[in-house]
Amino acid sequence: MTTGRWLVIGCVAALAAVPLFGSATMVQYGISALSIAALAQAWNILGGYTGYASFGNSVFYGLGAYGTAIAMVDGHQSFGVGLGCGVALAVACAWLFGGPILRLRGPYFAIATLGLSGAMSAVVSNLGFAGKNVGLILPLYRGDALFYELSLALLVLCTLAVAWISRSRFGAGLVAIREDEDAALVMGVNTPRYKALALLLAAGFSAVAGGIHAYWSTFLDPASAFDSTLNVKMVIMTVFGGPGTVLGPIVGAFSLSAISELLASQLSTMASAFYGLVIVLAVVFMPGGLMELGRGFRRGGRRYFLDNMRRFRL
């Protein structure tokens, strides 16, 4: 237990030291890998623990980015204030839409969030102060080390939140909702509030990632802010690593980021197609993700994959 804790602290310290020793490209790669891991971890709260598969988390990412950018460009505020505005905007949106949308279950929830993300992107493209289709240009800040440490801090914070969830009464309630919402409700879980809190947490963390990314890339337009493939990545990385586990999303995000980085240097379109292939294979052969694979493989060897396949076959 304590050795595990020291190991984690050691890993975080080593990651934090990367800007001191690593090359510029390494730091830049680190920023994207860390922030996508944080996004996957945020998705994990709602999708992994609560069982509500959202394809609309990119909305909160986009709103976080736009809130930050609008406050900085139109309001001439500092980055800190801007980030606060972005989070507030995303959380307000989650609160507003969460009520009706969280009443939907299964595929209906997933599709509604997909629709929400499409609608939001279309609305923002029509707002003058958000730069319409053209986009916004943020003040330039040259300090990749800072963005790196911010992304790392976000990932650590997000993971601490998930670690707490995995042990708390709150988390037990979320898992009960995932396993059988009707039974959870009758057993005393305040399901509407628990689902709303999970959504707000996910929205808040995603918004911070969006704000950091907006300032880092200094340019923001609806297509990049509300990019639905980003949401797909969150889902795939979490499912690949192990949904509903503390470390699964990080393991999934880091391994898939590394593989796609290697492929992207060869062929960028094939890297994206590869994502699609990974998700199909992962869901068919290891629906519990890498985290469960470790356990299952030790027990059953290669049979683990075949058993998973047999379990859900027609």
Binding site: R167, S168, R169, A172, G173, V175, A176, R178, E179, D180, D182, A183, A184, L185, V186, M187, G188, V189, N190, T191, P192
Partner: protein, 260 residues
């Protein structure tokens, strides 16, 4: 209410000794054209077992759902410990002390048997805040229902009779004052039924009030203090078991009319 499970005895003193724990007044539920439950009224004294019987489709499960809060009544009132609860959401009713089992069993399939039951201890009337203490209480409920040896198995790996026991253990862990049992004996053999009957009596002796839906007539007869019979959603009889089962209307409901 604010501190769940705090000395229910002291609360009771504020009411006359004969006050019912629970009362239903003219409860009605319609589904589009169909009236599933119509004008049902009854009350239950603390520590009583009320048997609820009726042919298939009589509205028994609907009635339980109305009481536990998974369905909203079209008309009528539900009172629990002197307060009206029919507008409260299901989880609030669980906090107040109403627990139920599902006829179509609803285990948390991916969780261990122990964690299944711990959910009841964490969120039920005796709301345990701490997860390890909730597990301790869950262990007690598993021992009571004879399921302790399976505590580390996944719930979806259990067989039929053990799933019934799990339903019961989950509801018990909530420490309800009123427990609604929806066919917990269906599919059990004679020996298992006797075990469950003994268990229900044991639960009652601890001061719990029970409403029991059952098709096993022998069991329900020995168990119930009173019987309520539903037929096409109508309450056609309410009283001592032997009297109710002699009632010609009840016999007709079960066996059909002699003359057309």
């Amino acid at each position: 209410m604010s501190t769940p499970g705090s000395a229910p005895g002291s609360e009771r003193e504020h009411r006359p000794a004969s006050a019912p724990l629970f009362e239903v007044r003219a409860l009605t539920r319609r589904f589009r054209g169909l009236v599933a439950v119509s004008q049902v009224s009854f009350s239950m004294a603390p520590g009583q077992i009320l048997g609820l019987i009726g042919p298939n489709g009589a509205g028994k499960t609907t009635l339980v759902s109305l009481i536990s809060g998974t369905l909203a009544p079209t008309l009528g009132e539900i009172h629990f410990e002197g307060r009206r609860i029919d507008h409260l959401p299901a989880y609030r009713r669980a906090h107040l002390g109403i627990g139920r089992t599902f006829q179509v069993m609803k285990p948390f399939p991916g969780l261990s048997v122990l964690d299944n039951v711990a959910v009841g201890a964490l969120f039920g009337a005796g709301g345990e805040r701490d997860r390890s203490r909730a597990r301790d209480r869950a262990r007690q409920c598993l021992e009571l229902t004879g399921l302790d040896h399976r505590r580390d198995q996944r719930a979806d790996a259990l067989g039929g009779p053990d799933r019934k026991r799990l339903e019961l253990a989950k509801a018990l862990a909530m420490q309800p004052k009123l427990l609604l049992l929806d066919e917990v004996m269906a599919g059990l053999n004679a020996v298992e039924i006797d075990e469950v009957v003994a268990l229900i009596k044991q639960i009652r002796d601890r001061g719990m009030t029970l409403l029991v839906i059952e098709h096993v007539m022998k069991a329900i007869r020995t168990l119930s203090d009173r019987l309520l019979v539903l037929h096409h959603g109508q309450q056609i009889a309410l009283g001592a078991p032997d009297e109710v089962l002699r009632d010609p209307q009840v016999i007709e409901a079960y066996l059909g009319k002699r003359r057309t």
